[in-house]
């Protein structure tokens, strides 16, 4: 369309601009209320997530490319070394698994003697990270698995070394997850050494978590391992969450200052595991 001078158009919005802007703002506020208070908008959000999937894939192309060139340009000797290392690691892991089988058998026997329910094994599904949230103060990631792969809200996510986070929103082919380091995340844990139960909070840093409500005389030492507990939590029991790096009693305040280093490699992961417990997940938990 030819224009007389670039940029100068006849505006069509006329006198109703204020009214229409106001209408849109009211609509937005209603949407926000609905999204905050109800689950009604989860399905439309899923559709929109499917729309943004190609955008995210496009946006992650540069980093995918750098990774690929990095892999492709490694020397043969380096690969051989890595291969060697992995073989050794697998040997060690296999040896441990043999022990594990024996221990599991023993554990089953003991549980049978105690008349306890046998512990269900967990299925896992591998998901790839396709996006890390652009907002640096929200620790959220996007995964390439959605409802079509059986992913559900609040599902637990781990990596090879520990708990990563949980699913927040699910779309048809993608899902968004919250890392344990997100300032809005809290997870129930217990200390392996003595069974002390507490809650670990994210503080917006990838290498540090915090325990806020432990009394100054709590039985905690630096190096204690924290694992998930299944009591009132979305996570199956026994997965490592982190290790105490600092325990500092503050006599003038009610609670001690306790910092935790997460076990999972939160900044370096490319793939994560979605835990799928054998039991039916949809038995209506809500916050």
């Amino acid at each position: 369309m030819p224009v007389s001078a670039p940029g100068v158009h006849r505006a069509h919005h006329g006198r109703l601009l204020g009214l229409r802007t106001f209408g849109c703002i009211v609509l937005c506020i209603i949407l926000m209320f609905a999204d905050q208070r109800t689950d009604a908008l989860n399905t439309p959000r899923g559709w929109l997530m499917a729309v943004t999937y190609p955008l995210q894939t496009l946006a992650s192309l540069p980093s995918t490319f750098f990774r690929w060139t990095d892999d492709a340009s490694r020397s043969r000797a380096e690969l051989a070394r890595e291969n060697m290392r992995l073989r050794r690691q697998q040997l060690l892991a296999n040896a441990r698994i043999q022990q594990l089988n024996a221990v599991r058998a023993e554990n089953d026997r003991l549980r049978a003697m105690l008349d306890a329910r046998p512990r269900a094994g967990d299925n896992v599904e591998v998901a790839r990270l396709i996006n890390v949230d652009s907002d640096p103060f929200r620790h959220r990631i996007t995964l390439n698995k959605g409802t079509s792969n059986g992913v559900y809200e609040r599902q637990a996510i781990i990596d090879a070394s520990g708990v990563v986070g949980r699913i927040l929103k699910v779309g048809p082919v993608t899902s968004q997850a919250m890392l344990i380091s997100d300032p809005g995340h809290a997870i129930q844990v217990e200390v392996v050494r003595n069974g002390l139960r507490t809650v670990v909070f994210g503080i917006g840093e990838f290498d540090q978590l915090e325990i806020r409500f432990l009394p100054n005389n709590a039985d905690i030492v630096v190096g204690d391992l924290l694992v998930t507990t299944s009591l009132g939590s979305d996570f199956p029991a026994g997965y490592p969450v982190g290790e105490i790096t600092r325990f500092e009693p503050r006599p003038k305040q009610a609670f001690a200052r306790v910092m935790v280093q997460p076990s999972a490699a939160l900044t370096r992961m490319r793939e994560v595991l979605l835990l799928q417990p054998r039991t039916n997940p949809s038995d209506g938990q809500s916050e």
């Binding site: 369309m1 030819p2 224009v3 670039p6 940029g7 100068v8 158009h9 505006a11 069509h12 919005h13 601009l17 204020g18 229409r20 802007t21 849109c24 703002i25 609509l27 937005c28 506020i29 209603i30 949407l31 926000m32 609905a34 999204d35 905050q36 908008l41 439309p44 959000r45 929109l48 997530m49 729309v51 943004t52 955008l55 995210q56 496009l58 946006a59 992650s60 540069p62 980093s63 996006n131 890390v132 949230d133 652009s134 907002d135 640096p136 103060f137 929200r138 959220r140 927040l168 929103k169 968004q176 809005g184 990838f206």
Partner: protein
């Protein structure tokens, strides 16, 4: 005799590029300084092509941004509405002002945008640091002249009509 013509596909193209720039993973050091690309492109659209679809485009772009960032649905469209009103209302004047005044106008529109986001985050209990709101405002204002030139090149083409 040559005339200046507007390309048809410039708007979706600019918005898609803006979405990609908003979604590209950045190192944690510089990530807080990422400009609000969608807001900038929408301000450009509001000033230079204030046609019928600006508000609708802003609604859709804002909703997609919400989904991309995992915020409440409606938060980014609301912020866009708040920041686009003045540029839409004053677009005739804003096309003619020198570049530094244009930067000032953009800075105030971006400030409104950030304030609306701040308000939404506060109302829903997600408090973020002040730096999260100020850094994109500064970088957004600084990249505005580049964006003006860039989108002008994308949008306008010279055709010879002898």
């Amino acid at each position: 005799m040559s005339a200046i013509r507007q390309r048809l596909w410039w708007m979706p193209f600019a918005l898609i590029v803006a979405f990609m720039l908003s979604a590209i993973p950045l190192p944690a050091m510089i990530s807080p300084f990422r400009p609000d690309w969608i807001a900038l492109v929408m301000i450009y659209i509001a000033i230079f092509t204030p046609q019928r679809w600006v508000l609708t485009t802003a609604m859709v772009a804002g909703l997609l941004l919400d989904v991309l960032q995992g915020t409440l649905l409606g938060q980014h469209p609301l912020a866009l509405m708040v920041c686009l009103y003045a540029p839409l209302k004053l677009h005739l004047r804003l096309t003619l002002v020198p570049i530094w005044q244009s930067m000032l106008a953009t800075a105030s529109a971006l400030a409104l945008y950030q304030f609306a986001l701040f308000w939404c985050n506060g109302a829903t209990g997600n408090e973020l640091g002040l730096k999260a709101y100020l850094a994109p405002l500064v970088t957004g204002t600084l990249v505005w002249p580049l964006l003006l030139v860039g989108i002008d090149i994308l949008r306008l083409e010279r055709v010879n009509s002898d």
